[in-house]
Symmetry: C2
Subunit: 337 residues, 2 copies
């Protein structure tokens, strides 16, 4: 971990309560490879009632958990999931990372870096920052290291293997925290935020990005499609997470002691005018994510194969001629008092 000090603070996203802001260096993140849902410090519960096996194609390479916990990464750790995370991150990089750029020398912790899908975009937006990337899964960290080596060979990253609830860093070790698609997989996101705030210096910022599957809208609408998304929400809840967490980022951060919390909705809106998003988001990010829980949904008795497959088929229609698909992420920025 680097110790270069910095006084720069990221501006709250909506600017409605920016009095604590010192400097903001907005940068457009170039598209490379960096995935959401790379929930780092959460992971699949071995032997869970809802084991996540990734997509059927890669189920054999799916047992890399190196630690047990009562949290569950519902999407699993398969190569297919790592690819999905990469697709998601690349497709969404500009949307999610816009406005997030840390000054050279600032000490940044990415808590829950997973396979490094977001890490490479963080590095692209903040090339001079001193980044520490932490994750509970050693296997994910290995993948993150490889991804950064391939895509940002000159980047300096300190890798930390451990639980974000029990980070060994001294109080106020970091100027900024970045937490993307992690809280949704934790049993107690408030406790995680409180633990993270300890290592953030006073005046430093936290940036949290989460989705909310309840925001999913598609045309043609379909009860079967909605039910299939609901089964993913159910499985994630059963694994101790919350796929509807995005909507409550403000009270979560405020409750954990951050102030000047500002939350911005970031909606991905996909229709025939955006063919790249149809492929990159509707199909390879969202539908792939839902489809990956098929075996778990069947094993849990939540649905039948026919009903699940009909739901997926209906979701796919949103990516066809005349279809539309919409999903809202929430990006929160708060300041440590």
């Amino acid at each position: 971990m680097t110790t270069t000090s910095s006084k720069t603070t990221e501006a709250p996203a909506t600017g409605e309560s920016a009095e604590a802001t010192e400097t903001a260096v907005p940068t457009t993140a170039p598209a490379s490879t960096r995935p959401p849902h790379a929930a780092g410090s959460s992971h699949r519960t071995t032997g869970s009632a809802y084991p996540t096996t990734g997509s059927a194609h890669d189920a054999t390479d799916n047992a890399h958990d190196d630690n047990a916990s009562d949290h569950g990464y519902v999407h699993g750790y398969s190569p297919a999931e790592a690819r999905r995370l990469g697709n998601q991150a690349d497709t969404l990089a500009e949307l999610l990372h816009a406005g997030t750029a840390y000054p050279a020398g600032s000490r940044v912790l990415e808590a829950g870096c997973g396979v490094g899908a977001q890490t490479v975009h963080l590095l692209a937006s903040s090339p001079g920052a001193e980044l520490t990337a932490a994750d509970l899964s050693a296997d994910s960290l290995d993948q993150a290291r490889a991804r950064v080596a391939a895509q940002a060979p000159d980047a300096r990253v300190t890798w930390h293997h451990g639980d974000l609830h029990e980070l060994p860093f001294a109080d106020a070790s970091f100027d900024h925290l970045f937490v993307c698609f992690v809280l949704e997989h934790l049993a107690d996101p408030s406790a995680a935020l409180t633990a993270l705030r300890r290592v953030l210096r006073p005046g430093g910022t936290i940036t949290v990005i989460e989705g909310d599957h309840g925001s999913t809208l598609f045309h043609p609408d379909s009860a079967a499609g909605r039910a299939t998304v609901g089964q993913l929400v159910h499985l994630q809840a059963a694994a101790g997470g919350d796929a509807l967490l995005g909507r409550r980022l403000h009270p979560l951060l405020a409750g954990a002691g951050f102030r000047d919390v500002a939350v911005r909705p970031l909606t991905v809106s996909v229709d025939g005018s955006r063919p790249a998003l149809v492929e990159g988001f509707t199909r390879r990010t969202f539908i792939a994510m839902v489809e990956s829980v098929r075996a778990d949904a069947l094993a849990a008795g939540l649905t039948t194969a026919a009903a699940f497959d009909r739901g997926i088929a209906d979701l796919r229609r949103a990516g066809e001629e005349g279809g539309t698909f919409h999903y809202t992420f929430f990006k929160a920025v708060g300041v440590n008092p």
Copy 2:
């Protein structure tokens, strides 16, 4: 109707297919009084199976329909509804009207101006435009006239009483069309768009704004609250409308022959950091809208009084300490080939 000619065209909102754009004059609309859901050319079906009676407080002043049709304005025509529309428009003016400003002298038709809730904001953003405002309800037009006289006394507006499906204007009479919270109340929005395109000159633009009640997210989440919103959706569908229309604006406009259609999601995100929106949007716009169909929902046997009231009470929690509320509008711009 004015006949001043103009060659200026509003830019497609997302700019992804702006080749036909000639000029755009973005202006921030000052907040005055102009309401969404002022569905103009649609109105309540007299004697409908789902009569809309407005809020219980104003049910006595609720029979101003001057025309029959097979469309239904599910929210009714009460003074309370007119106030709600005004609150909604004022609260959302900046969000919805940003980027919509028409050059001086351009011929603009607001189709379905209702009580003028959006009209006054259009006038504020485009003070030099030659505006024609049309609505099917003579009573609503009277209210619109009064609103404009009070809030924009110097504005020149040509008022037209009639059905937007049968406008008496010559082909290509307008440079721009503005249609806000109207299509959601029509039995055949495609037919309406086709009829409107006839009076738009080649190269002219249409701007359409619609909500989508399926986008409603709130915290704390509540099945009762969601069910209550669903009852409004059901009633609107029974009246021939579609409260989930926002998501399908792109195929609707493209299907009606507009090109370079660009749709932007506009999400209102309300939490403790935005107390004005808690009052102006969550309570006085959204919850008031849902609450106004209470009698109809009960009459239609969709719910019980206790269940409906519990849903409203749960929705109100979203406006209390620690609560959040989110809703997405969709704004589409298309060009007439």
